[in-house]
Amino acid sequence: MTDHRQRSGRRGQGELEGLVLSALREADGPATAGWVQERLGGDLAYTTVITILTRLLAKGAVTRERAGRSFAWTSASDQAGLAAHRMRKVLDGESDREAVLASFVTGLGPDDERLLRELLDGSGSEGEA
C-alpha cells in the first residue's frame, strides 16, 4: 500500500478516489475542493480534484451542498464502502467471473434449492439424495 509514491505518474483512478475520500474524511465538516487539493499537498490539479469528487458523488461516496459560488463536499461513505462499490463494478463487468475467481458458492439450479434444504434439514446421515 505504500508503493503509490513510486509510480505516482500513472496512479489508478481507484487510488486517487481513495486519496481524495480519505482527505475529505479528515475534514471537520464540509470542505471545499481547494481545501482537499491543499490537503493532498498540491499534487493534483484543481480540475482533477473536481473530477474525482464528481465521480465520487456519482458513486454515492460523497455529498455536496452549495456554499457561495462553489460546493462544500462531505464524505458519505468510508474507504470500505467505496471499495465495495468498485468491487461490484469489477464483478458485474465480468460476465464469466466463475472462470476467473473461485467464489464460495456457485448458482443454484431449479431443483437445487429444495435438495439443499432437504440435506440441511435431514439428519446428515442419509447420504446422497
Binding site: G81, A84, R88, S95, A99, A102, D112, E113, L120
Partner: protein, 310 residues
Amino acid sequence: MGVFVFLPLVLPLTAWPIARLAEQHLHPRTATRLLTAVAAVMALCSTVCLGLVMVVGTAQLPGNPLPDGWSDPEVRAAVPFDEVVGKAAIPALCAVVAACGRTLWRHGRVRRRAHRALAGLPATGVAVLPDEVPYAYALPGGRRDRVVVTTALLEGLEPAERRALFAHERAHLTARHHRFLLTVQLAARANPFLRPLRTAVSYTTERWADEEAARAVGSRRAVACAIGKAALVSRGTPVATLAGFAAPGPVPRRVAALLGPAPSARRWPSLFTSVGLAAWCAAAGTAVSAMSSANSAVTMVLILRAATPL
C-alpha cells in the same frame, strides 16, 4: 504414420470417464492434481500436433518461410490429406492461440482490477466489504493474497460457519488453486474436448477446500451448513448456470459429500470392486491415450528434424 497423426486432437475424449470417476471416488486433492496433469499433457500434445500438421501442410505453399526440406514428399506423406488439413490447421491454431491469450489476459485483468478496487483498505488478509449482495471469494496475489467477503454474506452465517467460510477461502489461497483452474481453462481452450475436465477440476478444487475447511474447524457439518446457507442467501444473485439440467448442481453435491464421511486419503480404489475396476480401466485408457498423443507429437517432431537441412 497415416491418420494416427490426428490422434492427439481427438484422444482427449477418452479422458471423460476418468474425469467422472476421479471426481466421485478419489480424494479431491488427488483428483485435482491428476485431472489437471492429464488436461495439461493432452492440451500440449494436441496443440503441438496442430502446429506440426500446419507446418507440414503449408510447407509446400510458395512464399512460406519454412525450410525447403519440410515440403519433401516423404514428410508430406506422414500427414494424410496434407494440403486440406494443413490449411485448416492455420485458423484452428490461430483460434487456439487467441483463445488462450484472451484467457490469460482476462485472468490478469480481473485480478488486477480486484486488487485495485481494494486499494486504500488496510492491508489485511481479509477484506470485509459493506455490500447488500452476498458473495465471497479468494483473491490470489502473491504476498497480497486476500479473502474478500461482504457483510451481507457474513450476516447470514453463525460464528462457526464464518470460520468455515474463511478456512475454505484460505485453503484456496494456500494450495494455489487458481493455478490448477487456470491450467484447465487453458487446456479447454486448446482443445474443446477437454472441457469436461475443466468442469471436473473446478468442482474438485471446491471439494478440496471444503475438506481442508472441515479439518481446520473440526466440523464437517459446520462447513456443510456454511455452504448451504451461503448458497441460499445468494440464490437471487444472477450467476450464469445451465438451468434445466437434471443432475444436482455442484452445491448440493458438495453439501451431501460433507454430510457423509470424510474421503479416505487412500490413493486409489482396489481393483477388486466394480468402482475400482472401472477406475483402473479408465486410468489405463487415459494413460494409453496420453502416451499415444505424446508419441504422435514426438514422431512428427522427429520427422521434421530429419528433414531439416543443416
